[in-house]
Symmetry: C2
Subunit: 429 residues, 2 copies
Amino acid sequence: MTTLDQPVLTDARSRVDAAGRAGRRAAKQLALLTRADKDAALTALADALVAATDRIVAANEADLLRGRGAGMPQGLQDRLTLTPERIADIAGALRALAALPDPVGDVVRGSTLANGLQLRQVRVPMGVVGMVYESRPNVTVDAAGLGLKSGNAMILRGGSAAADTNRVIVDELRKALEKQGIAPDAVQLLDGGHEDVDALITARGLVDLVIPRGSDRLIQAVVQGATVPVIETGVGNVHVYVDSAADLQQALAIALNAKTHRPSVCNAAESLLVHRDVADTFLPQMYDALRDAGVRLHTDPRSSAIAERVGTAYEPATESDFATEYLDLDVSVGVVDDLAAAIDHIDRYGSGHTEVIVTQDRAAARRFQAQVDAAVVMVNASSRFTDGGEFGFGAEIGISTQKLHARGPMGLQELTSTKWLVDGDGQVR
Amino acid sequence: MTTLDQPVLTDARSRVDAAGRAGRRAAKQLALLTRADKDAALTALADALVAATDRIVAANEADLLRGRGAGMPQGLQDRLTLTPERIADIAGALRALAALPDPVGDVVRGSTLANGLQLRQVRVPMGVVGMVYESRPNVTVDAAGLGLKSGNAMILRGGSAAADTNRVIVDELRKALEKQGIAPDAVQLLDGGHEDVDALITARGLVDLVIPRGSDRLIQAVVQGATVPVIETGVGNVHVYVDSAADLQQALAIALNAKTHRPSVCNAAESLLVHRDVADTFLPQMYDALRDAGVRLHTDPRSSAIAERVGTAYEPATESDFATEYLDLDVSVGVVDDLAAAIDHIDRYGSGHTEVIVTQDRAAARRFQAQVDAAVVMVNASSRFTDGGEFGFGAEIGISTQKLHARGPMGLQELTSTKWLVDGDGQVR
């Protein structure tokens, strides 16, 4: 940090610390709300967003105009755009949250000790949770809703591309909270520069958890710079391994779905590994299907030879291809000698998100699930199912690829901590 | 970091990275061991330690000699000393671990989705766990045993005061593991300088978790410097609040036990808060009992006035007294106006470890447990019960004072992560 930056950081520090303190005060109230209170508030927030549709769309248009002026790619513009229909969907997600059970107060474990002490481990809110994310403005609403339902005060730091949209959304949410008798500081938005992020991720004692959600670059910057606890989310270098004992029609459908159903998301497949015994039979059909879907192939020598033979266009895969999360219509392809080689490859290049084996061999499935070190390890299913909604969590705040606290899709439960309540009648040691 | 330090750090970096890679290889084997394998190995480790008693005692004497030469305080010498009896106790702790259930493989949650996908969230080892701790050499054995039972490879970094003892213990453990057919790198010891700690806590991708255990200074250094996930343990600025509705004899026994039963540990009380309505009755008796136990009083104005009146020696408490974890025969004392004031005081000075209310008033107990933000919140019991052993966890790796992943006493379960296993028959989206 240069001396010139110092005053800016100091400003950000005091601004973020003030937000942290306000968040802590709000969190005290949130922790004591009943489920009925919170569900009523969620419904009120949904109503408020729908009522503010025109205002939100206008702010969103300002963001889009600025984005187009700055040459924002079409894909990002699509993600940023809010229409009345999308706003209704986002409000619907809040109503769906109201219908989910409240994790706060759940008794996780409990026992009575020999001396009569009664122990209960109960779920409690984390307190103040920071979210650092990129352009999609629906994340602003989802995070606010998940925070409210789980009793956490949220400090949100969205991408600058959605600044106007987020500002209006948060303003509407705060007004609606206040009308419900809930401290509006339950949802706060930081809209300063990157120094706000630096201050947020180092606000020890004020912020209990930070969740980054977005590009690998964003996530790594948060993880490296944070002194508050972080849950790393999202990077998915997902493999589909087609075993020698695979049902090849099933393998084709799964690999195609995992790659092409929605290539821009983290649970999309990026790499296809095929057992050498079935490569000659399987890959020609797979290549046809991928080509028809517009997928570019990045092939290792053995899979290149097959592409050559059947006349499919390909590019030889580089080392970095296998390490790349394309998030696009590209796939790396490798032929492996056996299950062990597939597991080794995944060990080396995988990001610990989701890994899939397609096989009818029970022993191979069992070994793959035991040895592959990832948040989700699937047999005979598309990686696209790694998703809080699909898993039945209702909403999702992200997909954790770390091992501490939460691993895989994170819903309401993952936004809670626990507290031990001990009840005695005078016990001493 | 100065340029001069660079080569040292680079050495430490490559040494620790090599340990991390060796740990990952060992962890792959550990993750697949059955409970029977692990329990047999724990028993073998216990036998090996007992058989090596003379060698361990000799190494320990070398550490003690060095410590005395450097003016080590008697208390620290006591903690460092290993006798044949203590070695037998430490070995006994390993045997006790063998008797505990294995957390690995436990199914935490599960469901079958509408499309027939079967989901199971199962406990799996973390992988490679680093421990940074201070002098007591029994922690070396406990950590190795907890790591083995939970399927984690451990990289240990003990205090330099116990260097010889730890080196011999780890050597014996590794030989015993090898005889059991288990990779000896399941337990590794780092015995370089502080640069080893720096390298360990930044070994992202090689180390899954670091647990610091020891002084506040050690813990804060690890938390501030780490880029790998950390579980913060241990600092306990523990309060006992005596409510207006307390059974005063019970309050006396609890406060005395919490303060004096073992003042040097984190679950000992450091501060006594008394409701003003009972202060005049309660404090004189409490002062007598504390004085008889050799406890020094650090009193706020109102509790000073009572001490003055009854002729008990006291020192006026400073602001920093209330923030201090004495770990000694000292207690800060405050008189509060009501329950809310007690909770505010704890909010301000507490470290989130254990907080106690003594009361017969159900509403006060309920409110205290709901509003106090700590790992353990007790009614009518001594804070000394916050302990993995007392809670029935068998062994304990530390007491977490953070909210992520583990809060309160950490046993085997807290050393595990989870993995989602998804079983399908061709499901796609």
